[in-house]
């Protein structure tokens, strides 16, 4: 079984988000980059499935050389090999086109992404790659089991969940619950250095969107404190002043 996991390189979750160049560019000065947390979940599940089915896990990343530490981390966690498409990830369509193009010439049984990247929060890549390849896609799954050529996945719906069966190959975005992220061990870290990391040039694609500028949310006013001894007053305030209950 051949499994492909798409990984993006994102600012660490504790990063204070600021911008430069007149709010047109993310300020990455001093920022620690990590594997997108959902992609770590996808990778962990891919490794488990590969182990059970004598399979192989490839990770793919569309990005510049500066994201190689993130790719090496994925190899240390247990991916067998890595592909970097050498380009700036301009928008979701561009990234999806690169990934779909790679899949066309290297068939996979299962393709996993994260449910969203925590920087641009698109939730787009799984659906776009699915559409470009005309294979099924599920935006966010909470459980994934593979049995021969068929998978059973669980998807969250408003107020409950849905259990779906899908024939391989398909693409899905991993959310919490699919697996516990794996921490690389010493052997993994050592072997990551020698595992293959192939660099491929990008195919051309027109971007369809461009980010013109960023903004950070206006700070909230200061908190209005209510004395614990008069906690019940909160209810009247929410009813009469905030008008939310």
């Amino acid at each position: 079984m051949k499994i492909l996991v798409c990984i993006s390189n994102v600012p660490d979750t504790t990063t204070k988000i600021t911008f430069t160049n007149d709010n047109t560019k993310f300020n990455d000065n001093g920022v620690q980059f990590i594997i997108n947390p959902y992609d770590e979940i996808a990778l962990a599940r891919a490794i488990e499935i590969a182990e059970a089915n004598s399979g192989e896990v490839t990770v793919i990343h569309v990005g510049e050389a500066s994201s190689e530490p993130t790719i090496r981390k994925a190899l240390a966690i247990g991916a067998h090999k890595a592909i970097r498409i050498n380009a700036t990830p301009k928008d979701a369509h561009f990234v999806s086109t690169q990934i779909a193009n790679y899949i066309k010439s290297n068939s996979f049984d299962l393709i996993l992404t994260g449910k969203e990247s925590i920087d641009y929060n698109g939730s787009l890549v799984a659906g776009m790659v699915g559409e470009l390849l005309n294979i099924p896609s599920v935006a966010a799954i909470k459980k994934l089991d593979v049995d021969n050529n068929q998978a059973t996945v669980e998807r969250e719906i408003e107020g409950g969940k849905e259990i779906i069966t899908i024939p391989l190959p398909f693409i899905a975005g991993a959310a919490e619950g699919v697996a516990e992220p794996k921490i690389p061990n010493m052997r993994g870290i050592m072997s990551a250095r020698t595992k293959p990391l192939e660099i491929i040039e990008a195919v051309s694609d027109n971007t369809q969107t461009v980010i013109l500028k960023y903004e950070t949310p206006a700070p909230r006013g200061t908190v209005k404190l209510i004395d614990a001894g008069e906690a019940e007053k909160l209810v009247a305030i929410l009813h009469n002043e905030a008008k939310v209950i």
Binding site: T13, T14, I17, D91, A92, I118, D119, Y120, N121, S123, L124, G127, M128, G130, E131, L132, N134, P136, S137, V138, A139, A140, K142, T152, E156, I157, E158, G159, G160, K161, E162, I163, I164, T165, I166, P167, F170, E176, G177, Q208, T209, V210, I211, L212, K213, Y214, E215, T216, P217, R220, V223, I226, A228, A231, E232, L234, L238, H239, V244, I245
Partner: protein
Amino acid sequence: MSVLIYIESSDNKLKKSAYELASYAKTIAEKLNTSVTAVAIGDVDRSELESLGKYGVSKAIYVSGEKLKNFVNQAYASIIAELSKETQANVVVLSNSLSGKGLAPRVAVKLNAGIVDGAIDLPDINDNKFVVKKTAFSNKAFAYVEVESDKKVISLNPNSYQVIEKPENITIEEYTPEIKDTDLRTVVKEIAKATNKVSLADADIVVSAGRGLKGPENWAMVEELANLLGAATACSKPVSDAGWRPHSEHVGQTGLAISPNLYIAIGISGAIQHLAGVSSSKTIVVINKDPEAPFFKVADYGIVGDAFEIVPKIIEEVKSLKANS
């Protein structure tokens, strides 16, 4: 030319997001001198579709069929794209809901349209520029995205656009699509819905609790308060990791991102990853015994004290408010 919206329903009724989409699309349609067409797929009452006329929809297309009773991502995406072409829609708007997230990227690729996911405001349409504001960096920032393609797809965050009445005479059409077998590869085997529970993703009010509540046995008061307020319940990540509450209740950077009108946080410290998922709530109330808890910095109202004393008091007060109204 038209603006097309895909609206969602559950138990034959339209979701609240349907009216938000209608109002949002109507405002865009006015700017572009055109009208709004709504597409509904699956079981929904006719009277519900008619009610969209009040919010500016001129035409509703109702798509049904045995194979479409359950949500099938690919088949639904094909239908939406097909009807977008047929009605010559140049703007297509969907809800950025759990199902909408599956549809929007596929529809965009089919239409060769640029997409803005998680939009939170109207597009700014000027000098042939089409710019949409969306959340980015897990609610820590906003991005203004220009869509350069002719056709545009927008997925609108729930709860981010006001419902506005703008009555139109609505006509309702039925449409029976041809569905390709390749669009029906995914099969829904089972749907498990928690009955009479308010769904977290589109709740107006959310009561949420964290590790400060010590253990799962203490959630009765959280549920009681939520029931009284017609609210959904949520929790912090360590709480669902410990199995005190289901994963589906986990909000934050790695959980669900929500923006209810009211978010009540009980015994949650307000870690940056938690705030990422809730900070766009309109009103935030924090109950925490530690006055230094970071959550107070983003709260509108706060009570410093022991949740086990405060929450029961609030419950009693809500009861008497309900009794008197």
